[in-house]
Amino acid sequence: MDLRETEAEQAFRAEARAWLSANVPQGLPSGDTTEGFALHLEWEKKLFDARWAVVSWPEEYGGRGASVWEWIAFEEEYYRAGGPQRVTQNGIFLLAPTLFEFGTQEQQDTLLPRMANAQDLWCQGWSEPGSGSDLASLKSRADKVEGGWKLNGQKTWTTRGAFCTHLFGLFRSDPASERHHGLTYFLVPLDTAGVTVRGFARLDGDEGFAEVFFDDAFVPDSAVLGGVGKGWSVAMATTGSERGLTLRSPGRYTATVDRLLTMARGQALDDTDVQRLAQAWMDAESYRLFTLQQVTNEQAGRGRPGESSLNKLLWSEMDIRLHELALDLLGPEAELEGPWSKGFQFSLSGPIYAGTNEVQRNIVSERLLGLPRK
């Protein structure tokens, strides 16, 4: 057990903290509206200019080659300083690890710098109207043509799709295939002819979702990531990996709990509030500690199947409890529009996106506990 940061890590954290406290914008509107998104892009470019956009990436792509420990420290400092949720996250946290692992040199050299400086904005094309938890049933097609592929079909629940420039998605490239066979992972500019995007509103009314329609949209062969027919394994390979935990860094929740404690300090509390606040702190702290253990185990080659599902079950259910507590402490003000009521509505998506919690419970029981699938 060694909980001490190295001198380099301490220096990294100190530099991040100093820069963030001086630069984090306060009171940005939601990034899920047209106007808000533009303001968030300014922030992303500022992060990039100071080389804080993608700290864990190599320097040549705009990063600092930070270790995963430094990345966790950066995230802690980022959320402690009140940094907003990153509108670039689906690119830098979901696509980028896949590009690093499966991309050609040319794909990496072309795409990563443009992703880092928020020139290309990536959204995810996984879900379809008939394929949510059961992703392997997806029907969007890629048909081979001279020099490339024609894409047809529909993706939906695409987060920030209406504001993004590119989509990474899974398409069925072998029409005779079933389930997770015969799928290919494509990288698609959204201005491709034959691609139509329609934004629609989330639960909180912000236009954070989009449907994306493909009507004979042509993409070249170079748009394939990781090989034709390898889409499923490419999409799944980074799930639960070291970088897989980047979806929800602990700093986000420890910062939420700090805000909750600050709010609670100003008011009279009963025993129930006190117990719930203590539990809130313990939940976020245990998530942080679990993450440290998880990274350690992965670095030592002791990672276990299903661990990232445990992770997801905890943060998603915790996030709802934190916000329910905040709303209870707010009393009658809870129904007003504000950061807590907005955060509550957002928290309700936690047990749904990135694989519903029902699916996560299946994964934990089947892969970690070894219970039979059927």
Partner: protein, 316 residues
């Protein structure tokens, strides 16, 4: 012994259901979200006598009792009737106002802006006065459920002559009606969800066949099914002028708040992403649930009252 709605109350609810199916569609609720006071809906409710349901016949009302009240209000909850429905029904016996739907009466908040003030014609202050509103000038405060239309209340109120007993009954009816409305909202969310999970297919089967969907729904139904008799019991306690009225009203509101809130959580989760958009109707009922579960006293407030009335003391 007969524990349940009278045939009259059942018939009233059935009639109201037919009216509301056409008069209060989700499109009407969506209009209310944009600030529409929904005058046609209220006119329809008025022609059915709903606003004056609790007002004595000799004063132009229907002169019905609290059992009919909870039956009617639960149905209104099912249809998500926007505006100050419960507030209007419980205020009418205290104020001399038309019961034809032209008067929509809300209740003055004792902490900040008043719910429905931007779409109401009057505000009752249970401390003993009545404000007339000019809704068009109201500045609406942003809320999660936009049909709540909160606004500040200004102007010179008319004094009302209210006895302590009037006010106590008004408060009890308000909490009870809100409990009934919540259970209507919960029933609607359940119906929407049951219909969805029967048809939505994943992994080659309707998702409603999976225990992961079935069991949480069953548990949520236990909550709402056991809250309803508490609403009925509280209604009867008010009819009888029972000494235990406060106890049963608080029990009803506490159970209904918790059960409806839980139902909203389970129903939203059962929809997966499908429910997580304002384009789908579920949220109209879920967000009203969140607001009303805390209105007229939270579950926790009412449990505290129950504890007091049961003589549970903190000191040894």
């Amino acid at each position: 012994m007969y524990f349940g709605l009278t045939d009259d109350a059942l018939a009233l609810r059935e009639g109201l259901r037919e009216v509301l199916e056409t008069a209060c569609t989700p499109a009407v609720i969506r209009a209310a979200w944009d600030g529409d006071p929904c005058e046609q809906l209220w006119k329809d409710l008025g022609s059915f006598g709903v606003p004056g349901l609790l007002l004595a016949e000799e004063r132009g009302g229907l002169g019905l009792d609290e059992l009919a009240f909870v039956a009617a209000v639960e149905e209104c909850g099912y249809h998500g009737v926007p505006g100050p429905l419960v507030e209007t029904l419980v205020s009418m016996p205290l104020a001399s106002l038309p019961v034809d739907g032209s008067a929509r009466v809300t209740v003055l908040s004792d902490h900040g802006p008043t719910p429905y003030a931007a779409v109401s014609t009057h505000v009752l202050d249970p401390a003993g006065s009545l404000y007339e509103l000019t809704p068009e000038t109201a500045e609406v405060v942003g809320t999660v459920d936009r049909s709540r239309q909160l606004a500040g209340v200004e102007g010179d109120p008319l004094p009302l002559d209210l006895s302590d007993e009037d006010v106590a009954r008004f408060e009890r009816r308000g909490a009870l009606g809100t409990a009934a409305f919540l259970l209507g909202l919960a029933r609607r969310q359940l119906d929407i969800t049951v219909a969805y999970v029967k048809t939505r297919q994943q992994f080659g089967a309707a998702i409603g066949s999976f225990q992961a969907i079935k069991h949480p729904l069953a548990d949520a139904v236990v909550g709402t099914e056991f809250a309803w008799p508490a609403v009925l019991r509280a209604a009867q306690a008010l009819v009888d002028g029972d000494r235990d009225s406060d106890l049963y009203v608080s029990m009803a509101k506490a159970l209904a708040s918790d059960a409806a809130y839980r139902m909203s959580r389970v129903c939203l989760q059962a929809h997966g992403a499908m429910g997580y958009t304002v384009e789908y109707d579920l949220h109209l009922f879920a967000k009203r649930t969140w607001a009303l579960s805390k209105d007229w006293g939270t579950a926790s407030d009412h449990r505290e009252l129950v504890a007091e009335l049961l003589g549970i003391r903190r000191d040894a």
